[in-house]
């Protein structure tokens, strides 16, 4: 087996400084000391590189995670973080550590959002006190009890004396102030401060302080509980995770894997699955789709939410209710629809569908192939008034094959061909693609897109166009294992599902989303392990999620060298 499957040849970022070209064992405690030509880093750098341990910049809650967290922490389901400025979208996802910027606006809104949440929280304070009665047990007592108990859930770790002193001080200030002075005032200020605390907003990870080798350390059980919950649930840990953390039961890969397996069965995993696919499959672009109703009389804006619900229901079903196989995702001949949507798909739907609720339907296996041929994807990757072999080919190449395409020349005038009633879309795009100025790049896209020519600009099946039969023979070139011709999307879908390049691409997309950073050269053993486990599970995305908790990239970090040197 080759050492690394990571295809990038070129160096990137700081990680390169740690790249260690020699054999990457990935086995903690396997020895294999530095051999002296590891690229000039310290011995610890070389050890970390050999073990494929890369640090991730500190993470901050995304708006989605913030909303989920206050829902689980306080029962506040108002999605208050929606008003925060949007996350930076880099490397295809909005949760990439190190890409966040902190603006004055963000900090101002953190304050106002926290004020709103705290105000709502104290309107019904009793549940937060969990039985403590300020009247009989004393306001100061109940506040202290709240700070200790609630604080450790908000900060996702035991409170320090420093934490409680500070929050207690704030409570005392409010109680002593003649303009404030009530118990609720004090509680409100305490909650506001907690929600603006870096301990709430950020996820700091320091590790145990006990190196397994070099300066490589595992995480504490508290840190691991938080890592697991934000990776698999996009929210804070539940009581079972906190309990495991208290008992130090999140130390071995087996303990961690068992928790992951439990967590995937939970409803909260659904949020994460949806969040990932919305970004990976570019479903967020659906809301910007418009179509020319002169060309597509069957289109109306009310279809978009149905398309969206269809693809999301299908994805969640495949991954969480079935065995989660990538093959199903790309090739299944069933989906979920209501009557209106089934009418839209017409003859492609086998049997009758009635009513407004979504139900499972069987599809013509010669015409439909999983998410690939869904109206959501077909309509998004199309023009206003025609299908777009360019956009569809680009989508497959970039999102499914993880290839990057060169930019068009700087001053090139790009315009889609105008509708020509005498030609098929394929004929028109073949003419453009033949232009030598375009051919070198468009050969990478257009011929893939031709395989989707049976689906018009809104994703409805067509047998002919401009009075001519549809020619859906597509071609894939310059790939690792997919080169060849394919007659239609069903045939292409089978090939994509069985392609190691696509399988690896899916693993790398999940790596990026789950670990909040891109794959680096140092990650080779973690990534190889992930790929192997993915393959061993017959490419089950469910199993991939568990496998993500078993890599060195997830299980270890390097000891923090704090500038002012205080230790945990």
């Amino acid at each position: 087996m080759e050492v690394s499957r990571i295809r990038s040849e070129a160096p990137i970022g700081v990680c390169l400084a740690l790249t260690f070209a020699a054999g990457c064992t990935g086995v903690i405690g396997a020895g294999g000391g530095p051999d002296g030509d590891g690229g000039g880093g310290t011995i610890n750098d070389q050890v970390a590189a050999q073990l494929c341990v890369v640090d991730t910049p500190i993470r901050r809650l995304t708006r989605f995670e913030y909303n989920n967290t206050v829902r689980d922490l306080l029962g506040d389901d108002t999605n208050p973080a929606d008003v925060l400025p949007p996350e930076e979208e880099v490397a295809g996802f909005n949760n990439q550590a190190g890409a966040y910027t902190t603006s004055d606006l963000l900090v101002e809104q953190y304050m106002k959002v926290a004020e709103g949440i705290a105000e709502r929280a104290v309107q019904n304070i009793a549940p937060l006190l969990e039985g403590c009665d300020p009247g009989s047990q004393g306001e100061v007592f109940c506040a202290a009890e709240f700070i200790e108990r609630f604080g450790s859930r908000a900060y996702r770790r035991p409170m320090t004396q420093d934490d409680t002193d500070r929050l207690q001080g704030l409570f005392d200030f409010a109680m002593a102030d003649p303009d404030l002075g009530t118990f609720n005032d004090g509680m409100q200020l305490v909650i506001e401060a907690m929600l603006q605390s870096p301990n709430f907003l950020y996820r700091a990870e320091y590790g145990t302080g006990a190196p397994v080798e070099g300066d490589v350390v595992p995480f504490t059980s508290w840190e691991m509980a938080t890592k697991l919950s934000y990776m698999l649930w996009n929210t804070m840990p539940d009581e079972a995770l906190f309990e495991a953390a208290r008992n130090g039961e999140l130390e071995t890969p087996e303990q961690i894997g068992a928790q992951a397996a439990r967590m995937i069965e939970d409803e909260r995993a659904r949020d994460t699955i949806r969040n990932f696919h919305r970004q990976w499959l570019l479903l967020t672009e659906l809301e910007n789709v418009t179509k020319d109703q002169n060309v597509y009389p069957n289109y109306n804006a009310g279809l978009r939410p149905l398309w969206e619900q269809e693809i999301e229901t299908f994805i969640e079903h495949v991954i969480l209710d079935e065995n989660g196989s990538l093959d199903d995702l790309l090739t299944a001949n069933y989906s979920f629809m209501n009557e209106e949507l089934a009418r839209f798909y017409g003859d492609d739907v086998v049997g009758e569908v009635s009513g407004e609720s979504f139900q499972r339907v069987e599809l013509d296996p010669t015409r439909r192939s999983g998410v690939l041929t869904s109206a959501a994807l077909m309509a998004t990757h199309a023009n206003l008034n025609q299908s777009s072999p360019v956009f569809r080919g680009k989508f497959v190449r970039e999102q499914l094959m993880c290839d990057s395409l060169p930019l068009p020349p700087n001053d090139l005038i790009i315009e889609p061909p105008e509708l020509d009633p005498n030609k098929t879309t394929k004929e028109q795009f073949e003419e453009i693609g033949a232009d030598p100025a375009c051919a070198s790049c468009h050969a990478l896209m257009n011929p893939i897109g031709f395989a989707f020519e049976h689906y018009d600009g809104i994703g409805q099946w067509r047998d002919q166009q401009s009075g001519k039969p549809i020619d859906a023979v597509g071609e894939v070139v310059l790939t690792e294992d997919l080169d060849g011709t394919y007659d239609g999307a069903v045939e292409l879908g089978q090939a994509l599902a069985n392609s190691p390049q696509v399988q690896e691409c899916v693993a790398s997309q999940w790596f990026r989303f789950a670990y909040n950073r891109s794959v680096t050269q140092v990650d080779s053993c973690s990534f190889d392990q992930l790929s192997d486990q993915f393959a061993a599970s017959n490419f089950s995305i469910r199993e991939l999620l568990v496998a993500l908790t078993q890599t060195n990239a997830f299980l270890y970090r390097r000891m923090v060298t704090a500038e002012e040197g205080s230790t945990p």
């Binding site: 990038s8 902190t102 870096p198 315009e415 060298t561």
Partner: protein, 448 residues
């Protein structure tokens, strides 16, 4: 929803007269009004063939700018100013056009903006913009002299996600600044406390100060344990909290022209395509009032983003397509050309609307517009070629008499960095060069 016109003259909000709400000595009086600067962005280039004004500056009858006719004596049309730096920079036309526009700095290398595997360097991968934008430079300089409610105010109209295509304002290299996009939220942030009882207001400040003090202590303890990169991230956060606390007391100055504006606020659907005009108008209403109230001296209004594909259906259009798609048709496509003219004419009307609001605010013998410079910028010259030469730069207002307005000047190929330098001079925070020195050797000649 608040209805009515901004400066209708019938606004009657009962306000307690307080010392803190009276105009500051010297402010809003003849000759002493502060200078303000506003950047106004629209996307995808323009119709360069019709953009320029006639020699006599009479804009009535101009195919694109007729609505600006009342202000032509207060304006400067600049032809032949190029974003030279974008041709040295990595990144595509829209990326560089956007990220270099106010920074005059090359785009940073990196893999942040990537397609496919994103796991290695590629000629098509880039990072964020590589410099501080000139508005932020000016805002930080002004903040040394005076504390306003906002150091700078960034407003957006359907800008949406945060990427290199959507950010032109940078607090420092690699650090983009997001605009405020929700008009209702914006209204509360700007004017929510204007008519609050002063004692209640003081209580809010006291509470906020106490909480922020605790949060800042918390930050100090938290940061101590972090490695250096993470510590920098948290230090930036802490600095923003410090700045926020400093500005808690600054509410704006209520004067004759400053009051809670009556704004037609679009609802929660402000991001819908058909709400684009209403959202833009609400943001302009609030931006102008924020300036009139001296809540900030530096502002920007960003309509959509580079590669904007807003459908300007209300114009109306001949081709029912998004702005970016329309901008890609060949110059010979008459329908697309007509639509592009109509879209840019509509933006010109919006520009005129905002200038009208500013010109109606009297500040001594001058108007708010006279005391300001509003700079209309665009990431491209023209959409289909992606050229960053001959960007349609337009200035309105003389920045308190600094600019010699009422003219059209063709610079025949000066780098736009010089325009940025000119703006620092106009705002009395002069620099010799801004961004890449090669493309900003002093101010543009002949503007003053």
């Amino acid at each position: 929803m608040l209805r009515g016109s901004l400066y209708g003259g019938t606004i009657a909000i009962g306000l307690p007269l307080l010392d803190a709400m009276l105009p500051r000595p010297g402010a809003a009086q003849a000759g002493a009004a502060p200078k303000r600067i506003v950047f106004w962005f629209t996307a995808n280039g323009t119709r360069q063939d019709v953009w320029s004004p006639p020699a006599n500056m009479d804009l009535s009858g101009h195919p694109m700018h007729a609505s600006l006719a009342p202000f032509s004596e207060k304006m400067l049309f600049l032809d032949g100013v190029d974003q030279d730096v974008t041709y040295d920079s990595i990144g595509d036309g829209h990326q560089t056009g956007m990220a270099c526009l106010l920074t005059n700095a090359e785009v940073l290398a990196g893999t942040l903006f990537c397609e496919g595997a994103c796991d290695g360097a590629s000629p098509s991968y880039v990072g964020w913009g590589g410099g501080q934008s000139v508005d932020q430079y000016i805002a930080r300089e002004i903040a040394n002299d005076v504390v306003t409610k906002f150091r700078s105010l960034e407003l957006g109209v359907q800008v949406r996600s945060s990427t290199i295509w959507s950010r032109m304002v940078y607090s420092e290299p690699d650090k983009p600044v997001p605009p405020r996009e929700d008009p209702s939220q914006n209204f509360n942030d700007l004017f929510g406390d204007l008519d609050t009882d002063p004692f209640a207001l003081e209580l809010v400040r006291k509470r906020r100060r106490s909480v922020l003090d605790a949060v800042m202590e918390d930050h100090a303890a938290f940061s101590r344990r972090l490695g250096s990169d993470d510590k920098q991230t948290l230090d930036r956060h802490l600095q923003s909290i410090r700045d926020l606390e400093t500005r808690l007391d600054a509410t704006g100055v209520l004067g004759e022209s400053c009051s809670e504006p009556l704004v037609n606020l679009p609802g929660s659907n402000y991001q819908q395509n058909d709400q684009y005009p209403a959202t833009g108008r609400a943001q302009m209403d609030m931006l102008v009032m924020a300036l009139a109230c001296d809540m900030t001296r530096v502002a920007s209004l960003q309509w959509s983003r580079s590669v904007s594909n807003v459908q300007h259906n209300w114009v109306p259009l001949r081709l029912n397509e998004g702005h970016h798609d329309l901008s890609h048709y060949d110059d010979g496509n008459a329908d697309a050309q007509a639509d592009l003219l109509a879209i840019n004419r509509w933006y010109s009307e919006q520009f005129a609307y905002m200038l009208g609001l500013m010109d109606a605010v009297q500040e001594g013998d001058n108007t708010l517009l006279d005391n300001s410079v509003v700079v209309w910028v665009n990431e491209l010259g023209k959409g289909n070629s992606h050229t960053r030469r001959d960007i349609p730069f337009m200035l309105a207002g003389s920045a308190g008499g600094y600019f010699n307005t009422g003219r059209h000047i063709d610079f025949g190929g000066e780098p736009h960095g010089k325009l940025l330098v000119s703006l620092t001079h106009a705002m009395d925070k002069p620099v010799n060069s801004f961004g890449v020195p090669q493309y900003s050797q002093g101010p543009l000649p002949g503007l003053t």
